[in-house]
Amino acid sequence: MAHHPRQRSIAVLVAPTGSAAVIRVVYLGKLADAAGKPVSEFASSSGDLDWPDLLALLDSHVGEGLADAVRDPRVKVALNGAVVSDREALVVRHGDEVAFLPPVSGG
C-alpha cells in the first residue's frame, strides 16, 4: 500500500446513539467476546478512517488484543453490508457500518 504522509485521525468512542453521524463497528461471533460488546460507535475528527486507523482504535478504545484478532487473515470485513475484497484499502466514513466476520462455524 502506498504510504502518504497524513495527519492521523483522532477518533473517540461514543456511546451508542443510533445516530447516522458516527462510524458503527459490529463484531460477530467470538470477536464480540474479544471486544466485550457486539457494537462500537466512533466519532472521528477527520471524518474518515483507514485500515491502520481502525485497528489502532480497536486496541486503544475497545479491547487490547482485538486488533490482532481482527488481523487474522480468515476474518472478513464488510462495509455497509458488502464483504470487501481488499480490507487494507478500506476507508470508513461517518454513517458507515463496518462488520468484522470471523470464520463461520461448521456443523
Binding site: 459490529v26 460477530l28 461471533g29 467470538k30 464480540a32 467476546d33 464488510a78 455497509n80 453490508g81 458488502a82 464483504v83 457500518e97 462488520a99 466476520l101 470471523p102 470464520p103 463461520v104 462455524s105 461448521g106 456443523g107
Partner: protein, 154 residues
C-alpha cells in the same frame, strides 16, 4: 403447459418453529410435483450441551441464503424451494433448519436439499456457540465442512 414461477420461501426465524406447519403448505403450493424431499436438522442432544446459540449478521445472512437459493434453482430443475433457518438460543431437540425441495423428478429434489444443506452448514453467515457446564463455547470451522463443499465444485 403454462410456465409457472418457481415457488420460493426463504426465511430466518428467531423463535421455535414446527417444520410440519411449513412443509404441508409448501407441498400444497407445488401442484403437479413428482417428488418432494425435506431435511430437518435439530439441535443434537450431545451429552453435556445445554443450549446452542446462532448469531447472524442481518445485512449478509438472509441475502446469502437468497443467493444460495438462486444457485440451487440454476443448478437443479426445481419447482419450489423452502429454506428456513433458526437464529437465537435453542435447546436440544429443537429444529434448527428445514430445507425442502419440490421437483418433477426425485434426483433434483434430493440433490438440491443436499446442496443447500452443505452450503448452509459451512458457508452461510452463522456463528454458533454452545453452552456446556454453564459456560458458552464458540464452535470453530471443521475440516469436514470444506470436504462437504468440495463435493459440489465441478
Amino acid at each position: 403447459m403454462t410456465e409457472r414461477l418457481p415457488h420460493r420461501d426463504i426465511r430466518l426465524l428467531d423463535r421455535m418453529f414446527i417444520p410440519g406447519t411449513l412443509i404441508g403448505p409448501f407441498t400444497q403450493a407445488n401442484p403437479g410435483l413428482g417428488g418432494v424431499c425435506t431435511f430437518v436438522g435439530e439441535v443434537r442432544s450431545d451429552t453435556d450441551v445445554e443450549a446452542l446459540e446462532l448469531s447472524h449478521y442481518e445485512p449478509l445472512t438472509l441475502p446469502g441464503m437468497h443467493e444460495l437459493a438462486d444457485r440451487a434453482f440454476a443448478r437443479f430443475t426445481l419447482m419450489g424451494l423452502l429454506m428456513v433457518h433458526r437464529v437465537g438460543v435453542m435447546c436440544p431437540g429443537e429444529p434448527i433448519v428445514c430445507v425442502s425441495a419440490a421437483a418433477l423428478h426425485r434426483r433434483d429434489a434430493i440433490d438440491a436439499v443436499d446442496f443447500c444443506m452443505d452450503h448452509l452448514k459451512s458457508a452461510a453467515w452463522f456463528w454458533k456457540r454452545e453452552k456446556r457446564g454453564g459456560a458458552w463455547h464458540w464452535i470453530e470451522p471443521r475440516e469436514a465442512d470444506h470436504a462437504d463443499l468440495a463435493r459440489w465444485q465441478a
